[in-house]
Symmetry: C2
């Protein structure tokens, strides 16, 4: 029962079609549709960039009306910085999906990823949507249709066992891989058959996204189109409320974390992923600041690419993060080996550190020695391949 | 009279010596000394990183006492994250320079740049300082002695003509080039023979640094050791006060800007420098946020490296900067050619843009269409060479 992602939860189907939005061969899947067979409660987290793409503006309005139960998405064109026509095109996509599914337009969320500043081929997309067949097997086609420079689809699911029965959560995502002129857009569509109150779902989603999708960095940029959507249709018949919310939140976070880590690992030019665990910060907020600055630092990222046990860069990144840092209280361990202890360089086996840094998965622990604040973030190395991909000509 | 940098102003001398701090050949200059033949007023801007190197802590205390008239600096070792011994070693450097110059210890500022977490060879430095001969010609040796991965010294000077006569300002700097395990340390030592009040100098220096050294970015990291020092000894006999302060500030800024741009152009792996001028922001603070985010964006930097007219990345970087941005009011020009006008993509000659991007010096203008806020910042492209340099092994 694994590998079904967005149709793992009962009552959800998906499908995809080629609409010629992606450049190159016309048969590439670039339009995806996900739908519930019954009404849903829904929640979402949309880009915090001040430059917001037309589909995100429309989706935000539809989420506010509280009845979203289907998602239509395209890759190859972000429909961003496209003015009034862009807004009409996003609405046309929602309208086409609503017609295909016999829903109201405001029951459909829209997401786009791809080139900025180019008008969408909205009619071709509408025709493609009209022909999409929705099935339980359609998760695979949908997971491919939202890819841009991703080298592989991202799919995850979990069954969550509660005292009253099991509920399912699954999702698909596309990554922060970016090849110009595409942006580092993150799309994730998650479905669950839990029966949950809208405000409980909203709180759970915000918390899960903050500790997973918002804790990854491939290159520090934030897209105009970032969209995480969660639909809950209640098809399991299992109510999730009260203390069960904690168990549900944990399962939802696990799905989000698996998708988020798959996104980092598939980032452009990425050869390894590192996890940075900050503890002993003055507050959780400080810990988050430090952890995220360390995943954003080009100097840390290149050191890790080169398997260089350069703890000075890690400490300096924390020091410029805005978090309170006192170097004489800080300690750093790499792969469980202390390299800096309470403000003093530790004698360590450089070969062991380099061996750890040469793994595909790296663990760095920074204890600030100031309080009880903790945070985890995930980053990727910075390689010459990243530069090559992102420096290529548009034409 | 050009090319004298830190000894262009009357009454200043400089010199340098090898102390074996830099790895490799023992005869490389790595200790520099700059001194005034009379008392000075002084001002400085030190790193904002929470992890502050020992020399910066000592220099801050000496600046507060208000009598700094000499600077001793070394390259090859940052004396950062070195605990109590590091504090003693920084003091030993100041003591050696004070003995050499027959000054009080608190009349000497100390700066270091290089590897983090390794104790300084303080005795070797003290012996080298004792042997430094200070001359007006010593500016050249001093400018070389502070270099780390810089490929060339940075030297600038200006004569500022006031109604009552001319005053001189000159300086030397080292760059944000960083080869691990060194940090991106920026050091700049500026001298002037203006007679100026200490608080006027302090205000002028903060403003000049903010619009120049703080407006450049090579890789977004902030060192534990960044130090800009300005000494004014009054040897010109010309008082700078009242409205003359505006003229003086302009000349000081020009020297700072020339040094800052030389630092960007000599950054590791840098093949071109771009100037981003933001106008029409809701405030100057917003303009600064947007301009600096654009110089920090890896996506913008790689696009410029590849001569890619990818204005979407510029707008998206502004959008995530924290500045207010409404894409439908924004306009972007590259090398004077409009690529995005009031929210709509402009039809432009891609070849002309790519030709401009292929120059060593690039101009990007972003008008946010919201208010009167303006700012200028300078950034550098991100090349595969940067990654190669920063991913090399420590050992």
């Amino acid at each position: 029962m694994s590998g079904r992602g967005v149709t793992f939860a009962r009552g959800f189907t998906a499908g995809a079609a080629p609409a010629g939005v992606k450049p190159g061969a016309d048969e590439r899947l670039d339009v995806a549709l996900v739908a519930s067979d019954r009404p849903c409660v829904s929640a979402g987290v949309l880009t915090r960039n001040e430059v917001i793409a037309a589909p995100c503006l429309l989706t935000r309005r539809h989420l506010e009306r509280g009845a979203v139960r289907a998602i239509v998405a395209n890759s190859g064109n972000a429909n961003a910085c496209t003015g009034e026509q862009g807004a009409r095109d996003a609405l046309a996509m929602a309208t086409a999906a609503a017609a295909r599914l016999d829903l109201r337009v405001d029951e459909v969320a829209v997401a786009s990823t791809g080139v900025i500043g180019v008008l969408l081929p909205a009619e071709r997309i509408a025709r493609a949507v009209a022909g999409i067949e929705l099935t339980e097997e359609g998760w695979d086609a949908a997971s491919h249709a939202i890819m841009t420079t991703d080298t592989r689809p991202k799919v995850a699911e979990r069954e969550i066992t509660l005292p009253s029965g099991a509920v399912r959560v699954g999702g698909i995502a596309k990554g922060a891989g970016m090849i110009h002129p595409d942006m580092a857009t993150l799309l994730a569509f998650i479905t669950t058959d839990a029966r949950i109150a809208a405000d409980d779902l909203a709180r759970t989603v915000v918390s899960a996204v903050d500790s997973t999708f918002n804790a990854i960095s491939v290159d520090g940029d934030t897209s105009t189109n970032d969209t995480v959507l969660v639909l809950a249709n209640g098809a399991s018949g299992i109510d999730v409320a009260g203390t069960d919310l904690v168990t549900f939140a944990s399962g939802l976070s696990a799905v989000c974390r698996e998708l988020a880590l798959a996104i980092v690992a598939d980032g452009e030019g990425v050869t390894k992923v590192y996890e940075i665990r900050v503890s002993g910060a003055a507050s959780d907020a400080d810990a988050r600041l430090a952890a995220r600055q360390i995943t954003d630092s080009n100097l840390v990222r290149t050191a890790i690419h080169g398997a260089d046990p350069n703890w000075g860069r890690i400490l300096a990144a924390a020091g410029r993060s805005g978090a309170r840092v006192e170097s004489e209280r800080a300690s750093i361990a790499i792969g469980g080996v202390a390299v800096f202890t309470a403000g003093a360089p530790a004698a360590f086996d450089g070969a062991a550190i380099r061996a750890h840094f040469s793994r595909a998965s790296i663990e760095i622990a920074l204890d600030l020695g100031l309080g009880n604040g903790t945070a985890v973030a995930w980053g990727a190395d910075l390689s010459a391949e990243y530069v090559r991909i992102n420096a290529e000509y548009t034409t």
